[in-house]
Amino acid sequence: MTRMLLREWRLLSGASRAALLGLACLAAVAVALGLAAVSATRADIARVVGLEAKETAAVEGFAQGAAGSFGYYRHYPVWRAPGDLGFLAPSRGDAVPEVQRIRMLALEAQINDNESANPELLLAGRFDFAFVLLYMAPLVLIALLHDLWSAEREAGRLGALQSLPHADRRLWTPRATLRFAGVALALLIPLVVGAAVEGTAPGRLIGAVGLVLASLAFWAALSLLVARSEAASATQAAILAGLWFAIALVIPAAAHLAINRAVPLPDAAELIRENREEVHAGWDRPKAETMQRFVARYPDFADRADVGTGFHWKWYFAFQHLGDLHVAAQSAARDAGIARREGLAQALGWALPPLKLTQALQGMAGSDVRAELAFRERVRAFHAEIRTYHYPFLFDDRPMTAAEVAAAPSFGAPPAS
C-alpha cells in the first residue's frame, strides 16, 4: 500500500500539491491565530482580575467596613475562560464580553452589556480553524477528487486503466486515499500541534479529530459520488462547487432569516427600560411595601425588615432586586427564545452534516450560542451568590471585617495565563 501511495504522490500534479500545501498553511495560520487569541483572552482575564483586586482595596479604603458601600461600589469580575480546544474557534472580540464586571445592583442593567469590539471585524467573520474546515478544506477536496475518473477518460486512458486487474484496489483506492489523507493531514497536523501547545485532554482531542475526519469524509463521499457519474469533469466540478456553495453559504444564511422570523423575542429595549422604571420607582414607593415584597422572597430577613424614614442600604438593594424580579419572566423568555433559535439551527445541522460538524466543533471550543447562554446563567447564579452574601450584613447592620471582605464569593480561579 505504501508503495502505491508513494506512486500516487509522485503522480500528483504541481497544482494539487500547491493546493494541499496552501491548505496546510491556512490551517497552520488559523491555529496560530487561535492560540494567540486564547492566550490573549486569558491574559485579559488575569489583568482584569488583578486590577479589580486593586480596585477592591481602594473601595475598602473609603467604605470603612460598611457593607452597603461594598455592595454599591465593589465589582466582581466574571469571565468565559477559553477551554483546551478554544483555539479552534476562539470567541475573542465577540459582542458578548469574555470578561465583565458585575456588581450587586440590578443585574438586568448589566448582563446585556456588549464588549467594545470592532463590529466591522465581527461582520467579516472569523479566520479560525472551524472556518478552514467548513469553507476551504471542502474546496480543496472537491478540486482533488471530482475528476478522479473523468480526467482519465478525457485523456483517453480510462479504458486501459479500468482493464488492469484489480484496478479498484491497485489504482483508484490508493489515489483517492492519498488525496483524502493529504487534505486530512493538512488540517490535522496543525490541529495536533495546537492541542499539544494547549495541553488538550486526549479524549477531547480525539473527539475534535473525529469531527474533522467526519466532515472531510462527507465531502469526499459526495465528491466521489459525483465523480462516478459519466459527466464531463467541468460539469462535475460545477455541481460540487454548487453543492458546497449551497451547504456552506446559502442555506445557513437563508435559514438564519427564517429562524429569526419564526421565533420572535420579547423586545429587549423595553425590558431594559421596564427594569429601570421598576428600580427607580423603588425610591418613591412606601419603604414598608418594598421591604414586604422583598421578605416575601427572603423570609429569613422578615424580622429585620424595618427601615426608618431615612436612607438604608438594605432597602436600596431590596428595590434593586425587585427590579430584576419585575422583568424576570420576560428575561427568561428572551433567553429561552435565543435557545430555541439555536435549537432550530442545530436541528438544521442534522440535514447538513458539515454544518452539524462545525456546530459540534464550536461547541467543543466553547464558543457557540449555548456556551453564551450558559455563561449568562452562571453570571445570574453568581450575582445571586453576591447578593445573599451581603444581605446578612445589611440586615444585621453589621460591618464587614477585612476577612469577610476577602471571603466574598468569587467567580472561580482565573485561568493561568
Binding site: 469580575p77 459582542a95 446585556n112 471585524l121 467573520g125 469533469s233 429569526n260 431594559i272
Partner: protein, 476 residues
C-alpha cells in the same frame, strides 16, 4: 463594435440554451428577491422599534414628577442608534454593534443588545442581504455561467473558426465580456431595485444610493473582466472553473476574514472591563471624591471660596454639592472621552489595515464602500457612540447646574433626615421636559460618499488592470 455585438448576441443565445445558466439565474433571482424583501421589512421593523424606544425614553424622562436633580442624574435616559433607509440594502455592522446606550451620571455604559446576541450561531455564516447577494453570490453565479464561454469554444475548435471568419480577437473578447456583463446586469437588478426602493423613501439618500449602485456595477465589472480573461487563457474548461472558484474563495471569503484576523492581532483592543478599571485608577490619581482630604477637590473648594470671598461652603451663593457633582462629572467625562478616543483610534487603525488588504481583494473595497454609503459602517457607529456621550455629558451637567442653582444647600444637606427639606429639595417637573432630546443624524450624504472613495478607487484600479490584461493578450 457591431462584430462584438454579434458575438455577444450569439453568446447570450447560448446562455439561454444552457440549463445550468438559466437555473442558476432563476435561483439567484429568488434569493435576491427574498433578501430584498426581508431586508426592507427587517430594516423597517428595526428602525421603527428604535424610534419607538427612543420616543418612549424621552417621554419617560419628561414625565418624571418633581424630583431632586441628582435622582434624575441616576435615572438617566437612553440613546438608540437610528437606522437609515439604505440599511435595507446593506445593514452592515448593525447586527454586531450594540444599538442602545444607557446614559446616566458617573458612568459611560457599554452599548448593549444587537442581533448578534439574540440569534443562533448561523449568523456567523453571513446575513442574506441585497449587499451580500451582490458581493458574494452573484460573482460565483457569473463564474458558473461564464467559465467555459471561451475555453469551451476553443476546445471545440470554434475560436479559430470565428477569428478566421473576420470577427477579430478583441471584438470576440469584447463580445463575450458584453454577454456576461448582460447576465451580471440582470443578476444585479433585484439588488439594485431594493436599493432604489430604499433610496426613494428619503431623497436625501439618493446621492449615496447612486454611488452604491455604481460601486455594485463596478464590482460586477471586475468579475466579468476576470472571468473572460481566465476563460480566454485557460487550457481546459475544468481548469478555468477551478481557477475561478479558487479566486472567488480567496478574494471573497478568505482575504476579508484573514485581514480582519490580522487587524485584530496587530491592533489589540483592551476589554471594556479593563478600560473601566483603568479609568477608575486614573481617576483616583487625579481626584478621589471619596477622600475628604483629596488635594484636587480641596483645591477646587479653595478656589471657589476665594473667588466668592467666603470661608465656608455654606456661605457660597449656590449649592456646593451640585458644583462638586459637576466637577466630578467633568473629571470622569474627560477620562471617558480620552479612552473612547483611544478605542476609536485602535478600531480605525484596524479598519485602515483591512482597507489596505482591499488592494489584494476588491471585495473588501466593495464591502467598505457599500457600508459607508448606507451609513452602517464602523465610522457611523463610532459617530453614534460619540453623539451619545456628548448628549450624556450635556444632560448630566445641565442637571448638575439645576442641583447647584435650584436646590438650596440647607435643604440638600438635611433631605435624608427631614422630609420637609426633602420636599423642598425637589425641582419642578417642567425642567425635565425642557431637556433637549437625543438626536443623531449620522454622517451627511456627502461625507458618506467621500468615505466610499477609497473602496471605489481600489475597485477602479482592479477593473482597469483586468481590462488591460484582457485586451492586450493574444489568442492562445
Amino acid at each position: 463594435m457591431t462584430r462584438a455585438r454579434l458575438v455577444a448576441v450569439a453568446q447570450l443565445r447560448l446562455f439561454l440554451r444552457s440549463r445550468l445558466a438559466v437555473v442558476a439565474l432563476v435561483l439567484l433571482g429568488m434569493l435576491s428577491a427574498i433578501a430584498a424583501v426581508t431586508g426592507a421589512a427587517q430594516a423597517d421593523r428595526i428602525a421603527g422599534e428604535r424610534r419607538t424606544a427612543q420616543a418612549a425614553a424621552e417621554a419617560a424622562f419628561q414625565a418624571q414628577p418633581d424630583r431632586h436633580p441628582h435622582r434624575m442624574v441616576h435615572y438617566g435616559t437612553y440613546a438608540l442608534r437610528p437606522l437609515g433607509p439604505l440599511a435595507a440594502f446593506d445593514p452592515g455592522v448593525d447586527a454586531f454593534a450594540g444599538s442602545l446606550v444607557y446614559l446616566e451620571g458617573h458612568r459611560q455604559n457599554a452599548a448593549t443588545l444587537g442581533a448578534a446576541r439574540e440569534s443562533s450561531g448561523l449568523i456567523r455564516f453571513g446575513l442574506l442581504t441585497p449587499a451580500f447577494v451582490l458581493r458574494v453570490l452573484v460573482p460565483l453565479l457569473l463564474v458558473f455561467v461564464g467559465f467555459a464561454m471561451i475555453v469551451g469554444e476553443r476546445q471545440a475548435g470554434l475560436v479559430t473558426l470565428q477569428i478566421s471568419h473576420g470577427v477579430g480577437w478583441r471584438a470576440y473578447l469584447g463580445g463575450k465580456a458584453l454577454a456576461l456583463g448582460a447576465v451580471a446586469g440582470l443578476a444585479a437588478v433585484p439588488g439594485l431595485l431594493a436599493l432604489g426602493w430604499a433610496a426613494a423613501r428619503d431623497p436625501a439618500d439618493a446621492g449615496p444610493a447612486l454611488a452604491i449602485a455604481l460601486s455594485s456595477l463596478l464590482w460586477l465589472t471586475i468579475w466579468v473582466l476576470g472571468i473572460t480573461l481566465v476563460s480566454a487563457r485557460a487550457r481546459t474548461a475544468q481548469s478555468a472553473l477551478l481557477a475561478l472558484v479558487l479566486a472567488w474563495a480567496v478574494l471573497v471569503v478568505l482575504v476579508p476574514r484573514a485581514a480582519a484576523g490580522t487587524a485584530a492581532l496587530l491592533y489589540p483592543l483592551p476589554t471594556k472591563a479593563e478600560t473601566d478599571l483603568s479609568i477608575h485608577d486614573e481617576l483616583r490619581r487625579i481626584g478621589d471624591s471619596h477622600n475628604p482630604d483629596d488635594p484636587h477637590f480641596a483645591a477646587f473648594k479653595a478656589r471657589l471660596l476665594r473667588h466668592y470671598g467666603v470661608t465656608r461652603v455654606e456661605d457660597l451663593p449656590f449649592n456646593y454639592r451640585g458644583a462638586l457633582s459637576a466637577e466630578g462629572e467633568r473629571l470622569t467625562s474627560q477620562l471617558f472621552a480620552a479612552h473612547a478616543a483611544d478605542m476609536a483610534g485602535i478600531q480605525l487603525a484596524q479598519q485602515r489595515l483591512v482597507g489596505f488588504a482591499g488592494l489584494a481583494s476588491p471585495a473588501i473595497g466593495f464591502a467598505q464602500a457599500s457600508m459607508a454609503g448606507a451609513a452602517t459602517d464602523l465610522g457611523s457607529h463610532l459617530a453614534f457612540l460619540e453623539a451619545a456621550e456628548t448628549h450624556r455629558y450635556q444632560l448630566i451637567q445641565s442637571l448638575n447646574r439645576l442641583h447647584t442653582h435650584a436646590v438650596r444647600a440647607e435643604d440638600d444637606a438635611a433631605r435624608s433626615r427631614d422630609p420637609l427639606a426633602e420636599q423642598r429639595s425637589r425641582v419642578a417637573a417642567r425642567f425635565w421636559a425642557e431637556q433637549k432630546p437625543f438626536t443623531f443624524q449620522g454622517p451627511t450624504a456627502s461625507d458618506r460618499v467621500a468615505a466610499m472613495l477609497p473602496g471605489l478607487g481600489v475597485m477602479l484600479l482592479w477593473a482597469a488592470l483586468l481590462a488591460v490584461l484582457l485586451f492586450r493578450q493574444r489568442p492562445l
